[in-house]
């Protein structure tokens, strides 16, 4: 009953409802503007909601997240420019549809399917998270440590062509998170005897730099790209279209939730995998894939929104982010004095049910804003980058400054912005850095707890891993990720496919 009341909180408080609505609206448009990503929006925003209560802050962020994952599809369909990474697969069939004059139908189907996928994700979250967190209470410190490593490795390996670069980025994040005084022994770590560094590096400054400033600097390469206009017709899809694709959308939503729930992987990977799945299972697509098949829209759009619910599962139950945005949300919860993990689910289940409620609401708002406001949309997307880029930079500075009222944070932010800019140019993924920063404490604490409980004996530590089924599974998963990226494995796979 309490859970249900907490779930209803969002519906009975008009101001929270409004914030979810505003967030979703902003998310749809932020997601739609190429160069403005959800991660960027949430990381800049978190600094501004710093002084708020936790519920309004979370409401706004959830709205932005849900709306942003969807919003990227619009520009993917209309301009062939995915507004967000999770919409990359959407462009493959969405744009050909728009070229045939079916942009309205494409947008309508996308919206309804995103809504459907979002709902599936939320239902799975609501059903599964309590189970997972019960289970997670039995986790040993070493399991948390392995999970953290697994998360960083997964995002590193799935998101980039190069696992070593992903590993480097993740390790860099852990190192950044370790800067400052060690909370257990009060030893200085990575401070280089500079007094300013004793307090550590503000992770919000790192995030805004990497996702805000570096993105804005990157967009300078495309400052002269002219905006393209598209005509849009009927937008609400027919019931028949939706019913016809229900089986496929259920499958791809499931893929979305699963991928989203893996620590470190989010909507972008889910969408690509779902697209691939649709290509394999659809016998008679409306048109060949890549030429405007509606199935090619249904699959990625259900999956990426389902991944939102999925991403909250490890975040709420284990304190391990499902993707970059949930990593930032964990940061926000920390700031507001909450500690995501199995204990949060036990001690403050209301928080969990509130978030589920907010997600449901955000999903409805997404449907509403998705099917309306096309005129406004085309206006906003046509905003020239010459204006957009300076504004993002200014907001990044204000955001970095606002957290601690400190100029130092602004300098860190700018430094990481420039560094992130080079990382992007040379193919280093940024997601693992953020995951590393967020998980640094968890990894360090749990490693030390684990090894102390084994009396500083590495042999006993490994014995513990092989004798516990859960630890063993996690350990094998970590090893597998490594092996799957080695040249040996690639050769093996090639042989395998050749012999088929």
């Amino acid at each position: 009953m309490d859970a249900f009341m907490a779930f209803l909180t969002i519906f009975t408080h008009p101001e929270l409802l409004l914030l979810v609505g505003v967030g979703t609206f902003a998310g749809v448009y932020v997601g739609a503007i190429p160069g403005l990503s959800v991660t960027m929006a949430v990381s800049i925003l978190i600094s501004f909601t710093f002084s708020w209560d936790v519920l309004p802050a979370i409401s706004l962020m959830i709205g932005i997240y849900m709306g942003g994952v969807y919003g990227g599809s619009r520009t993917a369909i209309l301009l062939n420019i995915p507004g967000a990474p999770s919409a990359i697969a959407t462009a493959m069939d969405g744009y050909p549809m728009a070229q045939r004059g079916e942009a309205g139908e494409a947008i309508g189907t996308t919206t309804v399917m995103s809504f459907f996928g979002g709902l599936v994700g939320i239902v799975v979250l609501a059903v599964l998270a309590p189970v997972v967190s019960d289970f997670a209470l039995k986790f040993q410190p070493r399991d948390y440590m392995l999970l953290a490593v697994l998360g960083i490795l997964l995002v590193g390996s799935l998101s980039s062509g190069s696992l070593v670069k992903g590993i480097f980025a993740g390790a860099l994040g852990i190192a950044i998170g370790a800067v400052g005084m060690d909370p257990l022994t009060f030893t200085e770590r990575f401070t280089f005897d500079i007094p300013l560094m004793r307090g550590g590096i503000n992770f919000i400054a790192v995030m805004i730099g990497m996702f805000g400033v570096s993105e804005a600097l990157m967009q300078l390469h495309h400052v002269d790209t002219p905006a393209i206009r598209q005509k849009i017709n009927r937008i609400v899809p027919s019931f028949g279209t939706i019913r016809k694709h229900l089986p496929l959308s259920l499958q791809t939503s499931t893929i979305g939730v699963l991928i989203g729930a893996l620590p470190g992987t989010g909507g972008d990977i889910a969408a690509l995998m779902a697209y691939d799945h649709a290509k394999r299972v659809t016998k008679n697509p409306s048109r060949p894939f890549g030429e405007g098949a509606i199935e090619g829209l249904v699959a990625p759009e259900t999956a990426n929104n389902a991944a939102v619910g999925g991403a909250f599962i490890p975040m709420m139950t284990l304190g391990i982010p499902g993707d970059a945005v949930t990593a930032i949300m964990i940061g926000a919860l920390f700031i507001h004095g909450l500690n995501p993990g199995p204990m949060l689910m036990v001690e403050q289940p209301d928080m969990f049910w509130f978030i589920v409620g907010a997600l449901v609401m955000a999903n409805f708002f997404m449907l509403l804003f998705g099917l309306t406001g096309i005129k406004l949309f085309t206006k906003i997307v046509e905003m020239p980058r010459a204006v957009l880029i300076p504004l993002i930079l200014l907001l990044s500075i204000v955001g970095a400054y606002a957290v601690n009222n400190s100029i130092t944070d602004v300098y860190w932010m700018l430094g990481f912005g420039v560094f992130g800019y080079f990382m992007r140019h040379y193919g280093y993924p940024l997601g693992p850095v953020i995951l590393g920063v967020i998980l640094s404490r968890l990894l360090d604490d749990n490693w030390r707890r684990a090894i102390i409980s084994e009396r500083e004996d590495l042999g006993r530590f490994f014995h513990g891993i092989v004798t516990s089924p859960l630890s063993l599974v996690l350990f094998v998963a970590v090893i597998l990720i490594f092996v799957s990226q080695t040249p040996l494995w690639t050769k093996f796979r090639k042989k395998e496919t050749a012999s088929k």
Partner: protein, 190 residues
């Protein structure tokens, strides 16, 4: 697939969430220098991590930092080794594709912003920054530039000062006094 999706060379830019940019099988200009810097940086970090608590205990304050720095050093050394062996991209230069003048100028603007923020205050510094960068990027006339930059600055100021209650350095602008004056004015009028 990638070429089909992106315009220009934006695959090389990466995206902010998970997909990194770069070119997999070619070496971009400056990549070797960047990687070399990372190798040196990781080495220094490992040395520093060793200094935290040495090898005294597996649970020491320095063990995770040491392991982390070691992983960084090993991985980036592998990257360096691979990068050395790659052939250069033919159509790219540092000044055109990695750090074109616009990027350098904007980065300098940001540094200037950081320096001026405290002494000048938020409003004048931001106004200067927006006017200069929008003029530079849009190449439009002064009317457009001033209207857009000052208009958006006003909007940002109102939203963040009033809705988010973010306090930025006032500097030379008597902000608090002005707001108080405004409040009194409205009170007087009501």
């Amino acid at each position: 697939m990638q070429d089909h999706v992106h315009h220009h060379d934006s695959t090389r830019d990466g995206s902010s969430d998970a997909t990194p940019g770069g070119i997999v099988d070619k070496r971009r200009p400056g990549e070797l220098v960047f990687t070399a810097c990372l190798v040196i940086f990781s080495g220094v970090l490992l040395w520093n991590a060793y200094g935290i608590s040495g090898f005294e205990a597996l649970s020491g304050a320095g063990s995770v930092p040491m392991a982390t720095a070691a992983v960084m050093l090993i991985s980036v050394t592998i990257v360096f080794w691979r990068t050395v062996k790659l052939s250069k991209t033919e159509d790219e230069t540092v000044m055109e594709d990695i750090t074109p003048p616009l990027v350098i100028i904007l980065a300098l603007f940001l540094v200037a912003y950081g320096i001026l923020l405290k002494p000048l205050g938020f409003l004048p510094t931001s106004a200067l920054f927006l006017i200069a960068s929008i003029k530079l990027l849009s190449k439009r006339n002064w009317g457009f530039t001033l209207l857009v930059s000052l208009g958006s600055l006003l909007a940002i100021y109102l939203v963040f000062r009033i809705v988010f209650t973010v306090l930025m350095p006032a500097g030379i602008v008597p902000e608090a006094e002005a707001l108080q004056l405004l409040r009194n004015l409205f009170k007087g009028g009501a």
